[in-house]
Symmetry: C2
Subunit: 294 residues, 2 copies
């Protein structure tokens, strides 16, 4: 990989995550300027070679790109708004947590002030930053991403999603929904199996195999959604409904929680009531795509 | 693999799945006897070399082992009860769908009549039978499984779970819970991304990667459950709760369904209220292991 390590960078916001980002740049050899409201947060980074900028404006001028990682979007607006005149021509990459609407608004705000703006989301914990396991999502104009990818590579596996600045936030929460759902399904199964004396470690590899196996179906099922046609090639929703009833009854019989199974059943039942009983599971996209109205 | 193909087998019940099982035995070279209440269901199998037994009792005597795949457990009891005196010494493998209590009762019933009994569950659709993708779970006395595994191999990937006859049913519904949960999380994400014009095929590989990645955590997380200790090595439940709120707010903002995110949040909130906010996600096993009481 052609990684440039002499590009000066700036990191604004030195919480746990911001400090991890700055440390990863330093480790990769980048001249790194940092700024934080509470300057003591920079002590360790300065000891490792970072330069502490006296003002946000000074910090912005020091780097070829500036990573922003603060508490929330209002905090970002407050910080950068104070140095508004100095945003012209700056490359800002905002990794602050927020939603897609905030990201789009921030992009517009920054572009009106002459800045180049990418929005991002970090799918990692601070200790993972700087390793390939840290997935960092970016969205906004592709040329900005391409111009700075070799610098961003110091942070982890950096990914570009598209021109819409809201995409990084949307992919982030979508990925988190998958994370909690895999964990919850595993917990449901673990709870069931523990009633028969099976420990969690015994069940985990089975759950892992099922999750990875089902994940492989997704690209194929996606074709059904994109074509809007859901033939029951594998099984019909009515067949799923009967099996979900088994899951609910088994959970009740052994005395474990039934909220997750009942939610699955409720959504399947509504889809069947809407006439989709002979179609395949991905037809539930129609239920997932609208607020519940009953 | 040392697969015996000259063992005579019997299949009772020739619905879609039963016919697929018999066809797989025939294809592997096993002398195969079949029985079904409606004899015409056997026509194709007889054309392929199966023998149609005139009675259940005759069918049971023909095979070294008998696979039972009928509508439900009452149907099985009715069929085999009529030939009660002939069960002594028979090897029965019951792949009929049912719950763990039914499996345990059937095992007791069969053993009282001198039969050897394994309970099983088929994690496959009929067209998958006979391929490695068809996972067939077995539970009951291990010697019975070991004695017949080389014959059962004709059906797919056969797996032994343990001596408790209820395990096959429990693993089956647990695996199905994982299946629907991965699909639902993917549908939630797909619904979110489609509001930004991202098609399902574009999002699917991302969802697939997250699901498979999170699945790899399960063995490690299982250790927390088995030890009953949930230190926040990766993140604390309170941090998850804030991110789940992001998911709910984002789903509401773009107008998609929020039932799945809200269920996740409700269970996390209850766990935090029970004092587990500083612990790690698998502590939710306590919520999943009990009926909801509020």
């Amino acid at each position: 990989m052609n990684r440039k390590t002499d590009t000066p960078v700036t990191v604004i916001g030195l919480g746990l995550m911001g400090r991890a980002l700055a440390a990863a740049f330093l480790k990769a050899g980048h001249p790194t300027t940092v700024w934080n409201r509470t300057t003591s947060k920079a002590d360790q980074l300065v000891a490792e070679g970072a330069r502490l900028a006296p003002t946000v404006g000074d910090a912005l001028k020091a780097g070829s790109l500036t990573i922003i990682c603060v508490t929330d979007y209002p905090a970002m607006h407050e910080l950068l708004g104070a140095s508004e005149s100095e945003l012209d021509g700056m490359m800002l990459i905002n990794l602050t947590s927020g939603d897609s609407a905030q990201a789009r608004e921030a992009a517009q705000w920054a572009e009106q002030r002459g800045a180049h703006y990418l929005d991002g989301a970090i799918m990692a914990i601070p200790s993972g930053i700087g390793t390939a396991e840290a997935v960092i999502l970016h969205s906004g104009p592709q040329p900005y991403f391409e111009a700075h990818k070799s610098t961003l590579d110091a942070l982890g596996t950096v990914t570009y999603l598209g021109a819409d600045h809201g995409l990084a936030s949307l992919y982030d929460v979508a990925g988190l929904a998958m994370m909690w759902s895999v964990l919850n399904a595993w917990l449901q199964g673990t709870a069931l199996l523990r009633t028969a004396g099976v420990d969690a470690a015994t069940y985990a590899p089975f759950a892992q195999q099922i999750a990875a196996g089902v994940a492989e179906w997704l690209p194929g099922y996606a074709e059904q959604i994109d074509s809007g046609s859901f033939p029951a090639e594998v099984s019909a929703l009515e067949t799923d409904a009967r099996a979900i009833t088994h899951l609910i009854e088994e959970s009740e019989a052994v005395g474990v929680n039934t909220e997750l199974p009942k939610l699955i059943k409720a959504m399947v039942d509504r889809s069947i009531a809407a006439g989709h009983g002979g179609e395949q599971y991905p037809v539930l996209i129609e239920e997932f795509s609208k607020p519940r109205n009953d």
